[in-house]
Amino acid sequence: MSAARLAVTGGVLSFRALFNWMRPGIYLPTMLGVPLFQIILFVYLGRYSRLHDDAFYIVGNAIAVSGMASVFGMTMVISNERYFGTLASVFASPAARIPLFFGRVIPVAFHGLLVSAFGFLTGAALFGFRIPGLRLLPLAGVVGLTVVASAGVGMFLGSLGLRVRDVYFVSNVAYVLMLLVSGVNVSTGLLAPWLEALGQALPLTHGIAAGRAVLSGPGTPVLRELGWTAGLGTAYALAAYAFFRLWEIEGRRRGSFDIY
């Protein structure tokens, strides 16, 4: 009961406290404007190069922007504790660490879904992209899972950010790298082998593949890709949690909670 409240109420409060783009003046341009133009840019680039059709870029980027919202959101929601100097107070509390840590995914994931929905709407409004009614729900499911799995990557970066300076550099690089290697704009088969391998290690890659597979007709590839998405997301999240606990133990040993 109190664990559930810790996860839900605590998660929401920490999102409001730590998500940098809470204010409308910052939020609207960043979280809606950037996805909008990203989709426009790549659809036009696709049309110009005549590599894939519009739908390829719309699906890829609409899911990718939700991944971005997740990665950045999660990074902030964890690593900003250091920026505010609140880490010591949090670690001084008896709160159970598992709900404390994983509860923060909840608002981030909802937010990612929202951003993704906006991305698909952009595709629909500007480029006449249509999703067959029956596919809508499975697609939402795929996006939901991808968002949560990407939050795992964000968690991982966020945990690193509790110790490493300039974690946003890493998040920024990670995001643009995903645009290259995750099959957002270039199908992964065309990439150099090492880039392709890199892409396979990211949940977003499999989430996007699953999303495209859903739209082209459900079947085994969807389930396989979803399995990979979930598995990779879990792996990142667990690694993140391990780091988080490690920092706590190490912080107690070295006295490094307030050093930022």
């Binding site: 409240r5 409060l13 920490s14 409001r16 609140t86 107070s89 949090v90 001084a92 709160a95 070295r254």
Partner: protein
């Protein structure tokens, strides 16, 4: 009925390892706390005073489970701060001084709500608890504003409120009145006194000797990671060698005159402080006998504006105690 020990520290030590230099890294060890022992009885207010870098915060962090002692043991309400961390955390409130450590973008109320959740304050009680701690620190009118707009003192009060949220029996306050205006500081002191009267145990650090003297039943003076002296304010005053202090506000005092004052029998130290065009001369002596006539005789020729004799204060004793050891430069 024997009094219960709420906090006990036994030969606590803590060494920090850091490195300096970017190119040629050199490992350095800082012995922040070098064997501190004390105990605090239930319902007592115990003060730790000492110069910057003496190891006060380090000691508090060890007692609040945030820092692993290098050696030694400590217990809070019978629970070991290393092995029974969760038990300790549930029972203590921890207040840090300073203006960081709050969620700037949330309102004061929401900051408290978050910590109420972290401390597992039951949902039904939350509202009431938050309301009562806000009232206690006098923030109830501004609680709905974002913390980023708070003044330093308001932040400090919010810190105090946060520490009280789960109604802990033991409180650790690290410089609770830092940055708070005199009236606000008095309010916080009154709050702390009332809490102790209600049976809570308080361990606080402060740089204000007046605060330590008015509030604390017992005080430990620490310097360079060791307890120099511990006891009641009166006992600490006695542990200093000075028995009387004569303060003279005078003009046209020559260095030779000061030398003569230093030579008087029974005089321990003569310190001076420039005040506008005059000099404040402070003569500490070991004899309780009145030195005034002797001093006046030496000051013959100087323009004396004021002269008074008083008992040494805690501050006098403190300065004497810690200046013997040499100040630890904050690094």
């Amino acid at each position: 009925m024997t009094p219960q020990v709420a906090i006990e520290a036994h030969d606590l030590r803590r060494t920090y390892r850091t490195s300096t230099g970017t190119v040629r890294r050199r490992r350095i060890e800082i012995e922040a706390v070098r064997g501190i022992s004390f105990s605090v009885l239930t319902g007592q207010i115990f003060g730790i005073v000492g110069p910057n870098g003496a190891g006060k915060t380090t000691t508090i962090k060890m007692l609040t489970t945030l820092l692993q002692p290098t050696s030694g043991r400590a217990r809070v309400l019978g629970f070991d701060v290393v092995h029974d961390r969760q038990e300790v955390r549930r029972r203590i409130g921890y207040v840090v001084g300073g203006d960081r450590g709050l969620y700037d973008r949330l309102s004061g109320y929401d900051n408290l709500r978050y910590f109420a959740v972290l401390y597992g304050v039951p949902g039904g009680e939350q509202r009431r608890r938050i309301g009562s701690v806000l009232e206690l620190v006098g923030l109830e009118k501004r609680a709905s504003e974002r913390v980023e707009g708070y003044s330093r003192g308001m932040r400090q009060r919010l810190h105090v409120a946060r520490g009280l949220l789960h109604d802990p029996p033991v409180l650790f306050l690290d410089e609770p009145t830092i940055g708070v205006d005199p009236v606000g500081a008095r309010d916080i002191r009154q709050t702390v006194a009332a809490l102790a009267a209600a049976g809570k145990t308080v361990l606080l650090t402060t740089h204000s000797m007046i605060e330590a003297e008015t509030l604390c039943k017992r005080i430990a003076v620490i310097a360079q990671g060791r307890v120099v002296v511990a006891g009641s304010a009166a006992a600490i005053k006695d542990s200093g060698t000075a028995r009387a202090v004569t303060e003279i506000l005078a003009g046209d005092v020559s260095e030779a005159t000061l030398q003569r004052l230093r030579g008087l029998p029974g005089v321990l130290a003569v310190s001076t402080e420039v005040r506008d065009l005059t000099l404040m001369i402070r003569v500490q002596s070991t004899v309780s006998a009145d030195l005034t006539p002797a001093i006046l005789k030496q000051l013959n020729g100087a323009r004396i504006l004021n002269l008074s004799s008083r008992q040494p204060t805690l501050e006098d004793a403190y300065i004497e105690l810690v200046s013997d050891l040499g100040r630890v430069e904050p690094n």
